[in-house]
């Protein structure tokens, strides 16, 4: 009897200990978890990396010229489209539409601009390898700005000659296509210099992670219990940090996550075509328009022609994600909860192979992850 009572008491103590260990841990994080959370903090980002392909990347005069060009609708076929038509500063430098609309309609969603200088490849398929090469794409796209380099070189001579020459030297006589291209390329380099100044401001998550790292204790009143639970799922059960890692919540890579095709659009092979395109690109790191043509490591060691690239798309940053619906490369999902539901179900990809596996998150867990994602909002600075 006495032995049994003792055994019962011991068992109860054991059960209570184990139950408390299995219960939600709230703001208590292990050393390893604190390290992981601080690796996601904006203060880990560091300065914008140098761009040796753009000699004016960090020239403030180039950035100022680039800012003017960014907002100038004269740089389009119909005089109504500027970069800011789709990259709207008040909206995270995007447009809130599933497909971008310039002089026509594109097949993809507008991407935000902040923090992009940290990415080795641009666009959803990574078909450009610098901000300046990226900026030139939409200018000559028939459905975006819709104009030609010759038209833009004429516009620069007419409206920006002194600003241009202060940065790049005397404008070439516009007798050849090469001369027009030289001006066109410099427009891209000026716009890139401006875009390099656009970055993210800290969010509530950053304050939480920074205080936790600095003091060893989570701050009170910064994140709600649901947001903290969502953060724990984000780095744990839901495996979000497999791709959304680092201070910009992206590994800058390309993955097939089984995102459904958007009705009415042509088949889109994503990175498979993008990797080939960047190697062939007229304005890539190795091109004669680049200010450094050797040691283009991103191209030299590029993965091409691999089946895993089929319908893989760029992993976007999750900073300010709650402020820029709709989601995915063609705006397939209108809400964050629809995105989380997609990752939870992990449906088969319309082409290629989805890397997802079902997460088996219950409704409460899905809500908690969404709550956490909403804590990633801060300002966009320029």
């Amino acid at each position: 009897m006495t032995t049994n009572k003792l055994l019962l008491a011991l068992a109860l103590v054991l059960v209570m200990t184990m139950v408390s260990a299995a219960a939600p841990r709230g703001d208590r994080w292990t050393t390893e978890e604190v390290g992981l959370l601080s690796s996601l903090s904006l203060r880990e980002l560091g300065p914008v990396p140098a761009d040796p392909t753009n000699r004016v990347a960090d020239d403030p005069r180039a950035a100022e010229l680039g800012r003017k060009l960014f907002f100038d609708t004269r740089l389009s076929a119909n005089g109504q489209v500027s970069c800011a038509t789709c990259h709207i500063p008040e909206k995270e430098f995007q447009d809130g539409a599933p497909l971008a609309k310039g002089v026509g309609v594109t097949n993809r969603r507008t991407m935000p601009v902040a923090g992009m200088a940290h990415s080795p490849f641009l666009f959803w398929d990574g078909r450009k390898d610098s901000l300046w090469a990226q900026a030139l794409g939409p200018l000559e796209s028939p459905v975006e700005h819709g104009g030609s380099r010759e038209q833009y070189a004429t516009a620069i001579a007419a409206h920006y000659r002194s600003d241009y020459e202060a940065v790049f030297g005397t404008m070439p006589p516009r007798s050849t296509r090469d001369a027009a291209t030289a001006v066109f390329v410099n427009m891209g380099k000026a716009i890139a210099a401006y875009e390099r100044t656009i970055d993210y401001a800290p969010s509530r998550f950053d304050r939480y992670a920074d205080v936790l790292q600095d003091t060893g204790r989570a701050p009170e009143g910064v994140l709600s219990a649901d947001e903290v639970a969502g953060l724990r799922l984000f780095i744990g059960k839901a495996s979000c940090t497999n791709c959304h890692n680092g201070p910009l919540f992206t590994n800058n890579e390309f993955h097939n996550t089984g995102v459904p095709a958007r009705a009415g659009l042509p088949a889109d092979s994503g990175r498979l075509a993008g990797a080939d395109a960047v190697l062939r690109d007229e304005f890539n790191c190795r091109s004669r328009w680049s200010d450094r043509r050797s040691k283009c490591a991103e191209l030299d060691f590029l993965v091409t022609g691999d089946h895993v690239l089929e319908r893989a798309f760029k992993v976007p940053s999750l900073r300010n994600v709650a402020d820029r619906a709709p989601y995915m490369h063609a705006g397939q999902f209108t809400t964050l909860s629809a995105v989380i539901d997609h990752y939870n179900r992990a449906p088969e990809a319309p082409a290629g192979h989805s890397e997802l596996e079902p997460l088996r998150l219950n409704a409460q867990e899905r809500r908690q992850i969404e709550a956490f994602l909403r804590s990633l909002s801060g300002d966009t600075r320029q």
């Binding site: 009897m1 049994n4 055994l7 019962l8 068992a11 109860l12 054991l14 059960v15 184990m18 139950v19 260990a21 299995a22 992981l36 690796s39 744990g236 059960k237 495996s239 940090t241 497999n242 791709c243 890692n245 680092g246 590994n251 800058n252 890579e253 490591a297 991103e298 030299d300 060691f301 590029l302 993965v303 895993v308 890397e355 596996e357 997460l359 088996r360």
Partner: protein, 151 residues
């Protein structure tokens, strides 16, 4: 009496399952039921190849960190410690628990002599356990050395 003992035993077993089961579920979550090697198996070497033909040591240009492009030198010797020159080396790797390979195609870009080779284009795109494999082909034989790296 017997009922109570059985009840106690059930409680203990249930509690134990609650704890150990949790870790099991986490493993299943990733779908690839591959156990992470013991801590002693990790690091940049010296590391013996599978058949102990060679010993290789990695020398990264800077501490390996996720999302950064690295250049990594590798020093290769035979089992007796004599440097191996004129080897060809194929680079491969990935994350066994996630079922994916390296995000870039790194390759040997220079033989520096004295068994030292330079590998460029090395990048790891997330934290965690990575394998970094070198298939070494030398006059004396061929073998594969697999490094376990914790990013």
């Amino acid at each position: 009496m017997k009922t109570r003992t059985a009840f106690v035993a059930t409680l203990v077993v249930a509690a134990a399952m609650a704890v150990t089961g949790c870790g099991h579920v986490m493993m299943m979550m990733h779908g690839k039921n591959v156990a992470r090697p013991a801590a002693i198996e990790f690091g940049t070497g010296p590391r013996a190849s599978a058949s102990r033909e060679f010993t290789a040591t990695l020398q990264p240009d800077q501490p390996l960190r996720p999302r950064r492009m690295h250049t990594v030198r590798v020093a290769i010797t035979d089992a007796a410690g004599i440097p191996i020159d004129n080897a060809t080396i194929q680079v491969d790797g990935g994350m066994p628990q996630h079922g994916h390979g390296l995000p870039t195609r790194p390759r040997v870009t220079g033989a520096l002599g004295n068994g030292l080779y330079e590998i460029e284009g090395v990048r790891f795109n997330m934290g965690g356990w990575w394998e970094f494999k070198l298939a070494i082909n030398a006059a004396s034989g061929s073998d594969v050395v697999t490094f376990n790296l914790a990013l």
